[in-house]
């Protein structure tokens, strides 16, 4: 089995099903992602760990056809925003690279996908969203 390493530590739990690692404000109660020490909405320093699961609803989607700066993976790839049940709209990759095969409102699973292989032969992985089979 090829070793896997997350693209950033503390961003998600690489399990089945995966979880996004964010936080929640103890003052205003609102969730945030990625994890921050201070609430990005009300400025409170009283925040705590929280974790968010899918599936969510597709809120906006497109596909990236040319590699953006610093990206070594394949193109095209899907890109969009998924609204999670917790009330967060999360930007992320989509496993579907053809926008015509998706539509707003589609149920999307939270998944973990490989990006590329690093210098030590490990798969660098990130969170992404995949359309639920209809």
């Amino acid at each position: 089995m090829v070793a896997r390493v997350p693209v950033r530590q503390g961003l998600f739990v690489d399990a089945d099903p995966p979880l996004l690692l964010g936080g929640r404000c103890r003052s205003c109660g609102r969730p945030h992602f990625a994890r921050q020490e201070n609430c990005p909405y009300c400025s409170s320093a009283h925040t705590e760990d929280d974790a968010f699961s899918g599936p969510g609803r597709l809120w906006a989607h497109t596909a990236v056809t040319a590699a953006p700066p610093g990206y070594q993976g394949e193109v095209p790839y899907g890109f969009g925003v998924v609204e999670l049940p917790v009330g967060l709209r999360v930007v992320g990759r989509l496993t579907e690279a053809d926008p015509s095969r998706l539509s707003i409102g589609r149920l999307m699973d939270l998944v973990v996908v490989p990006l590329h292989v690093d210098d030590e032969g490990r798969h660098v992985v990130t969170y992404a969203f995949a359309p639920e089979a209809i």
Partner: protein, 372 residues
Amino acid sequence: MEVAGVGLHPFGRHPGTSLPAMGAAAVRAALAEAEVGRGGFQAAFCATAYAGVASGHKVLGALGMTGMPIVDVEAGCASGAAALMLAASAIASGQRDTVLVFGVEKMPKGIIRSSFFDPWQEEAGLAATPAYFALRAQRLMETSGVTKDHLASVVVKNRAQGAGNPDAMFRSAVAAADVLGSRVVCEPLHLWMLCSPNEGAAAVVLRAARRSGVRVDSAVLRSHLPGAVLSESTPLAGLADESVVPPSTLAADAAYEEAGVGPEDLDVVECQDTDAARELLGYEELRLCPPGGSAELLESGATALAGRLPVNPSGGLLSKGEPLGASALGQVVELVRQLRGQGAERQVPGARVALAHTVGRGANAGVVILTR
């Protein structure tokens, strides 16, 4: 206060011209119009996002015009509006009489690498700036009557207007079929619906005294409120909350109030058309139309050069390209010329009240209202 002089170095690709040389050309032209010489301004603000340390000093150093405070200002696409806001504040406070504001940029072709994103976001493919524009365009289409044909119409309108602007990078009209035939960068945005990062410079001399006839009635810069996922602040996540007021509306409302005018009083507008959908969103955010009404306003012909409220008579960024530090001041240069009746074949007849709008990463939004 007044705009005493404006100057521009054409926007485009100028491989043989250095950044200080472009800046110096624009500054010299603006100072000449204002009849202000060396020592005639008490502060200078230089807008740039990518030029690096002490760019303003390089430009004014090349002209032998240093000694006063020179401050570089970075606020993404709104850098020029930020510099103008600081200059206007210095004059309004009575601390300065005459302030030089200029913007310079020299950017390569293609998607710009931005230190805004974390390295992991680049590695994950999330630093895809046009993709964020595309998602915003799709949401506009989802929440209003805007279609891809409307996006193409914006490009056709602005390129036709830009054909009359000798300072623009693209000076040819295009057909909607060719816009829709250009390659898809990020659905629904095709290549010709996106502005090109490029090179150029613009300069404006602000002065307390009233001689020239073009007044600055407001120069407002506002940043974003937290919570919106697809605002120019480009967060990784936002709340499922439609009530967050965008920074362009915050800036526009403050500018209208300060100037004592409303959107119905405007004669001409230059707005941020980073992509074709961004212009239509601007119609809503600047209150040029009711929410969801941008397609109808465009279809009515009101925002074309011959219409009731021409938007982007210069051709917009879609024709000029976008040298970040210079672009917002380039809008002001265009509007000052319009208000003076120097718009040549793209003149808006009898223009008296003009609005410049810019918004970019940060997020920052700038709105400047000029009158004569």
